[in-house]
Structure formats: structure tokens, C-alpha cells
């Protein structure tokens, strides 16, 4: 599970709540009135599992009781990054549907699990069908948004998100999706604003939901190069939910951006310990290499490659990381060819920005920069101002013979995150651009 996969696990759990103190977009410690940290043995999802099991074991069984347990299991999947919890969830949903074959909540939960397992096309189709049954159900629109975003259907995602707001303005489940869409459309400030609105509406007792939102705020601040603010948010998330794998990952990214590779390694190692997925091992390997432990990093890369290849055909995979590894780390013509083949296969199913970006980069690395420029132009048309995307677009444009376009892209990368690695590299790239003649 990559962080930027907008898991639908946020949906049903979030509820409007008494507003809680914002920890701050400036460098402030969390106030003393902050919610108590979650004990390692008790999490919102594990507590919900216990309650749901107790309910199931008392009184008559019902579809609703099985759905409640299924929901708790799915939430646990997000807490732990453990996909086995989706299997347990699905078992409960089967029981629910045996009791009530048309149960709306059970069918909706199945779609949630499909999203969690990255079965995006199936989830999208199912969510559209479910939406026809109840066009006022805001959660179903949320599932449509999530699936559509992963598939690159941004217009459909936006339309569904707008209906969430039309029907029930300001709910956290809507505002988080608004935030994500705004980020994709290049409005980082608006994205932060929406995510803050979601945070203010989240119950203090929903510690994992709040930690998720804070982690995403950290990511957004990192996107625009404010590592201080990002660290505050990520730190707050870890206070709320210790060893939260998403927050550990973002914290690792923050330290890397600051050049503190050892600290990055520590956080990413812990993240890998909690959530031992190949993509997390890849990030750890990158940080390890940056910290100078080359031999150790190479061992990790090898292990990553093996694990990633083993799950490459699964819908939930580390293919984007594998592609990046082959194009940027290995870099041999054979590796680049493999990368291109793998990402092209993915691009036949999905046209989201990360996929298009990876495809374009592979095409560029394979020497076909003109085709790469056409590909990345599709990604750029969505609007994201992500510094890495824009820097890559600049490199591709330059290689494709469009120095003016290259400069435009470098400028955007710099404007988005001037102090970030890609912002700095963009500045250096601009300096290297051939001077334009006065006739231009």
C-alpha cells in the first residue's frame, strides 16, 4: 500500500465531531489538551473488533452485526497495513449477505475492501451500480471518488466529490476527498484548507482517523517544501497513534528532504518493521543508500526486487517502485526495457498521474523523449504541481527539444517546493539551459 493510494478506509469511520485543537501549521507543540496517545494494545479498530464480536455472540445474528465486525476488520487493515484483515472482513460480509442478500451496507463494505486490495476497476464498477440504488448515500460517492482517482478518471471523481458536498456539506469523508482532488489539480493551499476542515470535524476518539489526516497534512506541507510544518503534523500523528506506519513513512520522507538520512533510515526501518511491504523496503533502501551504507542498501535493493517481482502480477503490488528502481538505480538498457514493459502494462489499465509519470519517465530513459513528452503532457493536464513530476517533465521536455517548455516545468517545480531536492535541481537545470537569442 502506497501512501498516496487514497484508501477508502477513511469513509464510514469519520464522523462530525466536537472540534479539537489544531496542532498548528506553525511550529508549535501539541497542546496539553490533546487526546491521550493510543496504547499499543488498544486501537480504535481493535476496540471496535472487540465490541462487534461481543455483539455477534449475544442475541440473534444479523446482517448488521456481521457488517459491523467486517468494518472493524477493514479499519484494522489500515491501521496495520495488513491485507489479511480484508480477508477476514470479506468472510463476515459473506455471512451478512447470506442473512440479507441485498444488504446495502454489506455490499458497500465489499467495495471498500476491493479498494483496499487495489481492485480499482471492479470497485469502480460496483460503486457506480450501488450508487444507482441510493443516490443520496454519501459514502458510496466516496467510494466512486477513490476508485476513479486511482484509475485516472479525475472528472468523474470530481463530479462524485461535488455531490458529496451538495448532499452533506462539510463532512470529513467529503473534505478529505476534496483535499486529495485539489492536490491532484495543483491547488496545494486549497488541499490543506480542506484537510484542515476534515480534521476539525473528526472526533477526538477517532485517533487513527485523526492520525491519518495529520499524516496527510504533513505530506502536503512537504509537497510545498515546508519540512518544519510537515514534521509538526507527522509528529502529532505519531503521538496520537504510535508507530503509525503512514506517519513513519512521511516522517522518513521529511528527514530525507532535510538531508538527515540517518533519521530517515530509522523511521523508514520502523515503518518496514510495522508494514513489511516491498515498496516500504524500497524506500528504506533508498534512504540507506543516501546515508552512505551502500553495501547494506544493495542487499535491501536485491531483497526488494525479489519481493516486488513475486507480487508483480497481483493487483496490489510494488510495480511503480520496481519501475523506478530499474530506471533510476539499475539504469541498464535491459532494466529500462523491463521497466517500460511493466509500466506500459499498468498504463493499459490505469491513467492516473503516478502511472503516466512513471510511463513517461521510462519512455524517456529508453530514449524516446518525444513520446515521453506526449505521455507526461497528459499527466500535466490534470494540474498537479508536484515538484518531482514537474522536474521530470522539464527533463523530458528538454530532451524532446522543447527548452521553453522545460523552463516552464522547472519554474513550477521551484515555485512549488523551492527548498526541496527537486526544487533545487530544477534551479540548477534552469541555469544550465541554453541562453535564448534576443529574437525569441
Amino acid at each position: 500500500m502506497t501512501f498516496l493510494t487514497f484508501s477508502s478506509a477513511l469513509s464510514a469511520a469519520c464522523a462530525l465531531a466536537v472540534p479539537i485543537t489544531l496542532y498548528g501549521a506553525t511550529a508549535q507543540a501539541p497542546p496539553s489538551s490533546a487526546p491521550a496517545p493510543v496504547e499499543a494494545t488498544s486501537t480504535p479498530a481493535s476496540d471496535a473488533i472487540e465490541v462487534a464480536r461481543t455483539a455477534l455472540n449475544s442475541g440473534e445474528p444479523s446482517a448488521a452485526k456481521h457488517v459491523a465486525l467486517a468494518t472493524a476488520y477493514s479499519r484494522r487493515a489500515r491501521e496495520t497495513a495488513g491485507p489479511e484483515w480484508y480477508d477476514r472482513s470479506d468472510e463476515e460480509l459473506v455471512k451478512a449477505l447470506e442473512l440479507a442478500p441485498d444488504d446495502f451496507a454489506a455490499l458497500r463494505m465489499q467495495i471498500w475492501n476491493q479498494l483496499g486490495r487495489h481492485e480499482f476497476q471492479d470497485a469502480y464498477t460496483a460503486a457506480l451500480a450501488l450508487n444507482l440504488r441510493a443516490k443520496d448515500d454519501v459514502l458510496t460517492y466516496g467510494l466512486i471518488v477513490d476508485a476513479a482517482m486511482e484509475l485516472g478518471r479525475y472528472e468523474e471523481a470530481e463530479n462524485a466529490a461535488q455531490w458529496m458536498l451538495n448532499l452533506r456539506p462539510g463532512t470529513p469523508i467529503a473534505m478529505t476527498r476534496v483535499s486529495y482532488l485539489r492536490e491532484q489539480f495543483g491547488d496545494i493551499r486549497g488541499s490543506i484548507e480542506a484537510m484542515l476542515a476534515a480534521f476539525h470535524s473528526t472526533r477526538p476518539s477517532d485517533a487513527e482517523d485523526a492520525a491519518w489526516i495529520l499524516t496527510h497534512l504533513a505530506h502536503l506541507e512537504l509537497e510545498r517544501g515546508d519540512t518544519k510544518a510537515a514534521k509538526d503534523y507527522a509528529g502529532s500523528a505519531l503521538i496520537l497513534f504510535p508507530d503509525y506506519h503512514y506517519a513513519l513513512g512521511v516522517m522518513g520522507d521529511i528527514f530525507e528532504a532535510e538531508g538527515d538520512h540517518e533519521s530517515a533510515r530509522t523511521r523508514l526501518a520502523k515503518r518496514y518493521e510495522v508494514a513489511s511491504h516491498p515498496e516500504n523496503l524500497y524506500r528504506l533502501a533508498v534512504a540507506t543508500e543516501a546515508a552512505g551504507a551502500t553495501e547494506e542498501a544493495e542487499t535491501m535493493f536485491a531483497e526488494f526486487e525479489k519481493a516486488a517481482l513475486a507480487e508483480s502480477e497481483n493487483v496490489d503490488n510494488a510495480n511503480l517502485e520496481l519501475v523506478e528502481y530499474w530506471t533510476d538505480h539499475v539504469g541498464s538498457p535491459e532494466a529500462i526495457a523491463r521497466a517500460l514493459e511493466l509500466v506500459s502494462k499498468r498504463a493499459r489499465r490505469r491513467s492516473d498521474v503516478p502511472t503516466l509519470s512513471a510511463l513517461a519517465w521510462s519512455q524517456h530513459r529508453a530514449g524516446d523523449s518525444k513520446v515521453a513528452w506526449d505521455t507526461i503532457s497528459k499527466a500535466l493536464a490534470v494540474g498537479s504541481v508536484n515538484a518531482r513530476l514537474r522536474f521530470r517533465a522539464g527533463e523530458i521536455a528538454l530532451a524532446a527539444g522543447h527548452p521553453e517548455r522545460a523552463e516552464e516545468q522547472y519554474q513550477i517545480a521551484m515555485q512549488t517546493a523551492p527548498r526541496s531536492r527537486f526544487g533545487r535541481e530544477a534551479l540548477e537545470a534552469i541555469k544550465r539551459l541554453p541562453a535564448r537569442s534576443s529574437a525569441e
Partner: protein
């Protein structure tokens, strides 16, 4: 056993409007205008459109009465080229003023001279309210009317000849405080372009045995011995109810506008009924602005684009046809997008419910219900043959070429009774849309013949409420006066004039 219906008028039919009373549209009417001098076959000249909002106003309630909401944009929309997109829009906005801020009530008045302090002789209570300038009319609402030509974007203000504002008629508090009738007359304005406008609190013209309807169709058993089925004799009763009109004695806020037909058709002319251009589609909407900032103790501030809260076309779609899990989306979406609800139109779940309630004794037509398509497309018998059907859309379709029926000859069952100037060809206040909906949607009278169809059962479904207890005016704005708050009466089951109590 019992026949099923829900209120075929939209009184609180969607979750969102159950929480936003002021934006709740109860009824939309659209018909070729008539008056007491109407002659059969007379060439149509004008169309009246009435948008009623804010249901079940209790006339005795106070002290602030029932103003229109200044934060709502009320609109009546007309499609005249059969694409389910508005071509002409009438927009109504209200402004409230409190003329005596220290007075505790919205209205006060007594006699010709008012009442004075017995000791000092200082005036305390104003004289009876007889006009919009009367001192005792504390809460006074004015409103603007604009006509929008969607294609050009031109907005034409509708104004009275004198330039004075249009005032909304307040509720009828009682005979001491006001002369409601004089206010009602004054509130009926003749504006530029041959247009007439009215807004105010009036008697709710809708009629139905509402309690029976929502007690899972627990309709009264009348002379047929079958609940919800009328005898042939009962079916032609006029000006009498065989069951309680549970809307009796309640008021509603009404916006009425009468417009020359030439302003509404795509040709700019009155067209023959056989011409496709004669048929227009009408619907009403209420909208609020997207942003509300509340910062007590200051009033809330609204800003931003308008966001639709509710819409009404036909009198039965959202109420009777659309499932409750879809009502809000239906209310907020455009008619153009109604294909998403086509499943409901072609196979209304209510039909199965009634079939179950009757235990199979009532034969119902099978899906797909193509006989219902004229309600949601431009098609005969409303539109002329050859009219483009347009997209599936809930619009109240009115053939403006069909002459109005003189009041004395109007039949509550309208088209089903051979009176082609009524529902579903537009809708007049007198039309018994409850019984029409029962017979058309559930009884399948337009789908007949089919196996088991019985004209004396399927064609006689009804709630026993045949007319509005308060009656109607026979000229613009057609709405009856608001019941007196002091002396109003709600007719209950078993009371005289309210039919049986079983």
C-alpha cells in the same frame, strides 16, 4: 386491504426538505388561464404558473407569521424547445422589513382608529390593517420578479406600472387585526407586458386524506366496501368530501404569475395544440447560496453561487416514485439528468406495494411501464404528435394550445374524465392528482387492457377526498384566502364535511 398512495403533492417529500421547511416546494401548478367568463374553446392567451412552498402553515401561529425566506431564490423554469433545459426563468426574491421593531408581533390593529392609552390618550395599537401602508403591518415583505432569457442572458425586471414595489400578502391573523381580503386584492398586481403577479400566504389548495395515506395506505372504506375504491356514484360527487381533507384549515405560501403565452413559446406566438411548439415543460426550484457564515450576534451572511435545494415538476414523482435513498439527489439535480432515475419511472416500487396490500385482489400492470412515459417525455396525449420527445425528465408538460375549460365544466379527474385542460396536461388547483396518480400509476388505466384489469376497481381508486374544503378563486391568482387564524378549523375524520371515521 387498502389502496396506497402517498401525498401526490410534495409536502415534505425529501429528507433534505424535511429539514429545510422554507425551501420545501409543496405544489407546482401550470395551466392555461381562465376566469368565470371563460367560454369553451376560447383561444388561449395566458398561462398561470403557481409555486407553493412551506407546507402546513398553521394560521393561528404567531407572532412572526410565515414570511418567505429572503435567503431563498424561488424560480419557475420553462423549457420551450423540448431539451429539458430552461429557456425562460422567472426569479423571485424577497426582502423583509420590520417597521415597528419594538412591537412584539408581526401585525397588530384594531378598528378604524386603533386603541389608545386610556389615561394619556396616546396611541398604542394601530388601526386595523387594510393596506400595505397601514401602520400596524409591522412585518412587511416586498419582492422582485425578474424574467431571464437563458439563451441571451438578458434579465428583464417585471415591474408594476407605478414603480411601487410588489408586496407579499401576509397570513390572515384574524378579523380584528386585518382586512385580509383587501390585502389580498392589493397584492394581486398587474405588471408590465401583460403579466400579473401575486405572492402571499393563502389557503393550501391541495386536498388529500393524508393521515390515511401515510398509515400505510389505510384508506377509508366507503360504499364500495373496498378500502380506497369509490363507487361510480361517489366518483362523480362534486364539492363534497367523503373522507377528511387533512390539509383543510392549513395555509401555504404561494407565488403566482400569469404570463402571455407568446412570452413562453419558442416561436413567440400562441400555437395550435397540434403544433409541437405549443407544449412547454415547467418546473419550480428553490435554491440557497453555497456559503453561509454565522457569527453571532450578527445575522448570518450568505454568499456565493446558488445551489438548488429542491425542484418539482409533476405532482407525484419525488413523492410517489423516487425511493427515499434517492430523493435528495433527485431534488438537487437537473431534470436533464433524470435518466438516472428511469428505473423508477418504468417500474415504480409503489405498484408492488399496493399489489401486496390488496393481497393480489387488485391486478396491476407489469413493468416496463411505458404507459407512464408521457409524464416524463414530450409525447401524446399532452404534446402533439411529432413533438421531439426530449430526454426523460420530470417536467410538468403543458400544451398551451389547448383551451381552458370553463370553471363550471372542469372535472377533478381532468384528462381521465375527458377534461383535457387538466392534469397531466399541466395542472390546475382543482385537479385531483391523488386519485389520478392512483389510477394511472397503480391502477394502470392507461396501460389497460391487461390481465385482471377491472375498470370498476382499477379505475375507481381514490382516497375519498374530492375537493379542497376551502374552495378556489376562478381568476388569477386562483388561490383561496388564507383561513382566519382566530377562527380557523381543521376538519377531522367523522366531522361533518369530513366523511367517515373508520
Amino acid at each position: 386491504m387498502g389502496a396506497w398512495t402517498a401525498s401526490a403533492s410534495n409536502h415534505r417529500e425529501a429528507p433534505i426538505t424535511a429539514l429545510d421547511h422554507k425551501a420545501d416546494i409543496t405544489d407546482l401548478y401550470a395551466f392555461v388561464s381562465y376566469d368565470s367568463q371563460q367560454v369553451a374553446g376560447e383561444t388561449p392567451e395566458k398561462v398561470t404558473m403557481i409555486l407553493n412552498v412551506d407546507p402546513f402553515l398553521e394560521p393561528a401561529n404567531g407572532p412572526t407569521l410565515f414570511p418567505f425566506d429572503p435567503a431563498i431564490l424561488y424560480e419557475i423554469k420553462i423549457d420551450n424547445d423540448h431539451d429539458a433545459i430552461a429557456d425562460v426563468v422567472f426569479q423571485f426574491r424577497f426582502t423583509t422589513e420590520y417597521r415597528i421593531p419594538d412591537l412584539y408581533t408581526a401585525v397588530a390593529g384594531i378598528g378604524a382608529n386603533g386603541a389608545a392609552n386610556p389615561t394619556t390618550g396616546a396611541a398604542v395599537v394601530p388601526p386595523q390593517i387594510t393596506s400595505f401602508q397601514s401602520a400596524g403591518l409591522n412585518l412587511r415583505q416586498s419582492y422582485t420578479v425578474d424574467m431571464l432569457d437563458v439563451a441571451t442572458g438578458n434579465v428583464t425586471p417585471i415591474t408594476g406600472g407605478s414603480g411601487a414595489p410588489f408586496y407579499a400578502c401576509p397570513a390572515n391573523v384574524g378579523p380584528r387585526t386585518m382586512n385580509y381580503e383587501s390585502l389580498f386584492q392589493e397584492a394581486t398586481y398587474t405588471a408590465n407586458g401583460g403579466i400579473s403577479v401575486f405572492a402571499g400566504t393563502v389557503d393550501d389548495p391541495f386536498y388529500i386524506d393524508l393521515g390515511a395515506a401515510f398509515d400505510t395506505a389505510n384508506f377509508r372504506t366507503l360504499r364500495s366496501g373496498i378500502p380506497g375504491v369509490l363507487t361510480s356514484f361517489e366518483d362523480v360527487v362534486v364539492n363534497q368530501n367523503l373522507a377528511p381533507d387533512m390539509v383543510s384549515g392549513f395555509a401555504v405560501n404561494s407565488i403566482a404569475i400569469e404570463v402571455p403565452i407568446a412570452m413562453l413559446t419558442s416561436t413567440g406566438m400562441v400555437m395550435a395544440p397540434t403544433s409541437p411548439e405549443a407544449t412547454i415543460g415547467v418546473w419550480g426550484t428553490t435554491s440557497r447560496q453555497r456559503m453561509t457564515v454565522r457569527s453571532a450576534p450578527n445575522p448570518a451572511v450568505n454568499s456565493g453561487a446558488w445551489s438548488q435545494i429542491q425542484r418539482v415538476g409533476n405532482p407525484l414523482i419525488n413523492e410517489l416514485i423516487i425511493g427515499i435513498g434517492n430523493k435528495d439527489r433527485f431534488s438537487m439535480d437537473e431534470p436533464l439528468n433524470d435518466m438516472q432515475f428511469a428505473g423508477y419511472f418504468l417500474d415504480p416500487p409503489i405498484v408492488g406495494v399496493v399489489e401486496a396490500l390488496y393481497g393480489g385482489a387488485l391486478a396491476v400492470p407489469a413493468a416496463p411501464r411505458t404507459d407512464l412515459l408521457p409524464l416524463v417525455t414530450y409525447a401524446p396525449p399532452i404534446a402533439a404528435a411529432g413533438t421531439p420527445s426530449g430526454p426523460v425528465a420530470d417536467l410538468l408538460r403543458l400544451n398551451t394550445g389547448v383551451s381552458a375549460t370553463p370553471p363550471a365544466q372542469q372535472k377533478r379527474m381532468a384528462v381521465l374524465a375527458g377534461d383535457n385542460a387538466g392534469f397531466p396536461n399541466g395542472r390546475r388547483p382543482i385537479d385531483d392528482v391523488t386519485d389520478i396518480a392512483l389510477r394511472v400509476v397503480v391502477g394502470g388505466v392507461l396501460a389497460a387492457p391487461f390481465s385482471g384489469y377491472n375498470a370498476d376497481v382499477n379505475g375507481r381508486l381514490g382516497d375519498g377526498v374530492m375537493w379542497n374544503q376551502g374552495g378556489y378563486r376562478s381568476q388569477f391568482p386562483y388561490m383561496q384566502s388564507c383561513p382566519s387564524g382566530r377562527n380557523r378549523r381543521h376538519l377531522d375524520p367523522g366531522e361533518v364535511g369530513a366523511g367517515v371515521r373508520d
